[in-house]
């Protein structure tokens, strides 16, 4: 298996990453230690004005989190990626990424001058750097997904961060249903109560995968997804 991988890398804590995940490939993220969080953006690599749409993803599937069998929808009624494997069970869609202000308030100020590459990087700035490489900027920031993190909503609407969601070895695999620009930031979840800035490394693996079959579980999980896949596959006929 390892030699069949297109890519096999480790994303260290605090690091950013981007990749054009082509249709026919899948991205697997593995938490090497407990307590991981990967904030992630998804855009159509061929036409990045089309991007992940949090409300459309949640509304289509009547969900407020992501797991195996779910699709990540763009604003154009198409499926960017679908989740074909998940040993974690819950990925947060509601809480966004850290920014410089939040990171400094929570963990203290760091500078490159003092800390060199151990400075505390934040999700928003990481995203802006990576998006900038594609000519995109702050107006192009979609809502991020936080892989490996769990936040529930109680009956009064309060957000409750759940510790211990991602164990060491927890993995999630995303199959690209179109050519997707994926941007990752390995930075803490903004509601993680830990006072220590210590995002663990996350393994990134990309491999070739077969296209969704007629009875694919992501396609068949809801009638809405059947239509979302039709809207997407027509682009690649």
């Amino acid at each position: 298996m390892a030699e069949d991988l297109i890519l096999n890398e480790t994303l260290r804590g605090g690091a950013m990453w981007s990749w054009t995940l082509k249709r026919g490939t899948a991205l697997r993220l593995t938490a090497t230690e407990a307590g991981a969080n990967v904030s992630a953006l998804f855009l159509n690599a061929d036409a990045p004005l089309e991007r992940y749409n949090m409300p459309d993803t949640l509304k289509a599937q009547f969900i407020a989190f992501l797991t195996k069998g779910n699709a990540l929808y763009s604003d154009m009624g198409r499926v960017l990626c679908s989740i074909i494997d998940d040993t974690c069970g819950w990925h947060d869609t509601l809480c966004g990424a850290t920014d410089a202000r939040l990171t400094e308030a929570k963990y203290g100020a760091t500078t490159y001058q003092q800390q060199r590459n151990e400075m505390y990087r934040n999700g928003r700035d990481n995203f802006l750097v990576e998006l900038g490489k594609y000519g995109l900027g702050r107006r192009d920031l979609p809502v991020p997904v936080n892989f490996f993190s769990k936040v529930i909503v109680d009956d009064d609407g309060n957000l409750r961060y759940q510790t211990g969601n991602a164990r060491a070895g927890a993995a999630v695999e995303l199959r690209a249903e179109m050519n997707v620009l994926v941007v990752l930031s390995n930075t803490p979840h903004p509601m993680d109560p830990s006072a220590k800035y210590a995002p663990p490394p996350v393994r990134i693996q990309i491999q070739h995968v077969a296209a969704a079959t007629a009875d694919d579980p992501c396609r068949r999980s809801r009638p809405e997804n059947v239509r979302g896949f039709i809207n997407t596959e027509i682009l690649f006929r």
């Binding site: 949090m54 459309d56 949640l58 289509a60 009547f62 989190f65 198409r78 909503v153 809207n231």
Partner: protein, 223 residues
């Protein structure tokens, strides 16, 4: 159903500097100046008012639903909610609310999402995103012109979209009614973009989009 808290405003419509009825299916793009109060009134009940705000001095700094709900630790908007921008600034503060809660997660309808949610042949139907796009296209001569890039996830005033502790998104019975309103004070000069939702496929508005009333008051005179 949790108890909802209602807060009324002392402002009188006769004192408003702007008072307009916006029919269902229409868009609205309007400046609101720092210190002004802005009221959206649900004339016939359970009408979805899809709303975005922009920092008028820097429209890339825009209403950010995620920052807003995280700052208050709660997904519903009501009196006391500070509407936070993508850069972490306070755009407006909700000062009165006779409805009790407003949705931050449901976003706007669009021709494309209608094909997914309801049926492929629903593409032709009028939608909020189309109203947003027409409004911003018509302002395109201005220096601050907005484009589709700027259409972030919006507020749905008067809509009730709870999430269960199991993570299910539900479209619950409406909590609004004829005459309910929400009022907010601008903390900086903002642009407000509204689509008065034309959705005909969703029971949340009883399949019947209706007009809203939009009022603006100047800040009280100094002294």
């Amino acid at each position: 159903m949790p108890t909802l808290v209602y807060t009324e405003s002392a402002l009188q419509s006769r004192d408003a500097v702007h008072d307009e009825i916006l029919p269902a299916g229409k868009g609205w793009l309007h400046p609101i100046k720092a210190g002004q109060h802005f009221r959206i009134l649900d004339l016939e009940g359970n009408q979805a008012v899809d709303t975005l705000f922009y920092n008028a001095a820097d429209p890339a700094d825009r209403y950010d639903g995620i920052n807003t709900i995280r700052a208050q630790g709660n997904i519903f908007l009501t009196t006391g909610t500070r509407l936070i921008s993508s850069e972490g600034n306070v755009l407006l503060t909700i000062t009165a609310d006779t409805c009790g809660r407003h949705d931050t997660l449901g976003g706007a309808c669009s021709a494309e999402s209608n094909t997914v949610r309801y049926a492929l042949e629903k593409r032709y139907m009028h939608s909020c995103r189309d109203s947003f796009l027409l409004q911003i296209a018509q302002m395109a001569h201005s220096r601050e012109s907005l484009t589709k890039r700027d259409l972030a996830s919006n507020i749905n005033f008067f809509m009730n979209v709870p999430v269960t502790p199991k993570g299910e998104l539900t479209f619950a019975d409406g909590v609004s009614a004829p005459g309910k309103y929400v009022e907010m004070r601008a903390e900086m000069d903002v642009l407000c973009l509204i689509s008065n939702c034309p959705q005909l496929n969703n029971p949340c508005n009883a399949y019947n989009p209706t007009p809203i009333r939009l009022l603006i008051w100047d800040p009280p005179a100094a002294g």
